[in-house]
């Protein structure tokens, strides 16, 4: 990032801006795909993705694992329950919680989205060398503190 120390700021060289534009472009393009094919919103996709990895989580676990606030999780969950892609069962030990898991239908959609998502990612990474990919991984890790 040359130019960084100048007193002038070029927006198109400014890291927060560049990251934001790139991330939004990518996320939106991916979301358009699963939205069109499966009628799934972005928050709903995140919930599906996490429950596909690890079943039987509470809404709060999803908050931790999806980087969304509890309102967003609550809404995503209720949307997915409505679509019958996940189900809520009572937590015996804590009546405030419910345990969430994919229904067979949810699992089916999950199984259909994952390859599309991975191939989308492959497409992105196709522009990068193996070293680039490694660097990117490390840099994202560092920036994530």
């Amino acid at each position: 990032m040359p130019d960084v120390n100048k007193t002038v700021l070029r927006l198109d060289r400014f890291l927060p801006y560049r990251l934001s534009v790139l991330a939004n472009r990518i996320s939106r393009s991916l979301a358009d795909q699963y939205q069109a094919e499966f009628g799934i919103s972005r928050p709903q996709w995140r919930v599906l993705a996490v429950l596909g990895e690890t079943d039987n989580l509470s809404a709060n676990d999803l908050v931790d694992r999806t980087a969304m606030d509890k309102v967003a999780v609550s809404r995503a969950v209720s949307g997915l329950v409505n679509k019958q892609l996940i189900n809520q069962s009572d937590d015996k030990k804590d009546k405030r919680r419910s345990r969430l898991s994919l229904t067979p239908k949810g699992l089916q959609i999950y199984a259909a989205i994952v390859p599309a998502a991975l191939s989308f990612q492959q497409n992105l990474l196709a522009n990068l060398s193996a070293e680039d990919i490694h660097h990117l991984d490390a840099i994202l890790e560092k920036l994530g503190n």
Copy 2:
């Protein structure tokens, strides 16, 4: 990005997700600052930043340079006009357009935000080596197609 070829998808390793979470965290943190200090919204900041670089642009020029849609630009501009940070003068050649530029007050706020923004960016980059920064620049460029 190891794990990329597996059929399973770990959300926290998925590039669109990682980028989105990181970019949003960063943008939000920065926005909290100029929001608190200057009462400026994110779209408004982008408009100020561009007009600070290059004066006398049309709203459409701003669309190109801020990666925002014309509705967002229109609203940001009218907000900034209300705050008297920018002014609109008629374009003689085309009555549909207006030429936008910073007012003295706008320039003053711009001059106050820029160092804060640059130091924010410095803070981010402080976690990275010089090579990292160079790599990041190149990778963002490649991902931006």
